[in-house]
């Protein structure tokens, strides 16, 4: 899976959790929580959905590394088995 595919998976997951999220206007380097109305339940659902979609184990301690779109792609590209 390429970084672009991971990026698309992240945006698709985000869209399922926060339907108001517009990929075209989402700033990639600004925390999701500053752009979208996300709470801890949304964030947990985001992690669960990424885990299911990409088969990546995401320890709770790593949650801060999923704060922005760019950070998500970096983290998941490094964590996903046999990727990029």
């Amino acid at each position: 899976m390429t970084r672009e595919e991971i990026r698309a998976a992240v945006l698709r997951t985000l869209g399922e959790i926060a339907p108001e999220a517009d990929p075209a206007t989402l700033a990639p380097d600004v925390p999701f929580r500053d752009q979208l109305d996300l709470d801890s339940m949304d964030h947990l659902n985001f992690v669960i959905a990424l885990h299911a979609a990409l088969q990546v184990e995401i320890p709770e301690a790593d949650y801060p590394r999923l704060a922005t779109l760019d950070a998500c792609v970096d983290y998941l590209a490094a964590a996903a088995p046999g990727r990029h």
Partner: protein, 187 residues
């Protein structure tokens, strides 16, 4: 918080707990000490409920808030409560709640910590007689065994109907919540 982090390390990703579910369970169990807060008005009489159905305040996308019930909160394990909580939030935000879930709560919990609020003073949802508010977790200097240490602290408040309880009983209730949260492994 340490307990929760260690507990979540043991759990598969889909079964992880949120801090909020500990608060909900602690409130439900604390009602054993002060059961008159677990009641609803029927006409002019407050009627205690044997079962505890905690209503959880859930904000909706686009505005508004609902507080549906997590049924039998006191008798449900943390894992099952978390699954129920996730399901409730998902259905609340997609318009899939059942009417009974909106009418069944016997007490409500509201947590505004994620909005940056340190203390939340809730307004009772009639016909209930009490609501418990939680603020955000903040680090505060705390004295432990004569030493000042940094400790995560959360402020809990109780709004209760004085026709069924009083400040003394309310204090006992909040003390019970505090005691239960000090031993999350027993929740």
């Amino acid at each position: 918080m340490i307990w929760l982090a260690e507990e979540n390390l043991r759990r598969p990703v889909p079964d992880r707990l949120l801090y909020g579910v500990l608060l909900i369970k602690a409130v439900a169990l604390a009602l054993r000490d002060v059961p008159e807060l677990n009641a609803v008005w029927r006409g002019s009489e407050p009627v205690r409920s044997e079962a505890v159905h905690v209503g959880v305040a859930i904000s909706l996308r686009g505005g508004g808030l609902v507080a549906p019930a997590l049924h039998d909160t006191a008798g449900t394990s943390l894992g099952d409560l978390m699954r129920g909580f996730r399901d409730l939030v998902q259905r609340a935000r997609s318009g899939g709640l059942r009417s009974s879930e909106l009418s069944d709560p016997t007490i409500t919990v509201t947590s505004l910590g994620e909005q940056g609020v340190e203390s939340a003073f809730g307004i009772i949802f009639p016909p209930q007689v009490a609501i418990v508010g939680f603020g955000k977790i903040v680090e505060r200097p705390w004295v432990v065994d004569g030493q000042v240490v940094a400790r995560p602290v959360v402020t809990a408040t109780l709004s209760a109907d004085h026709r069924v309880s009083d400040g003394h009983r309310g204090g006992l209730f909040l003390a019970a919540v505090d005691r239960l949260l000090q031993e999350p492994g027993r929740l």
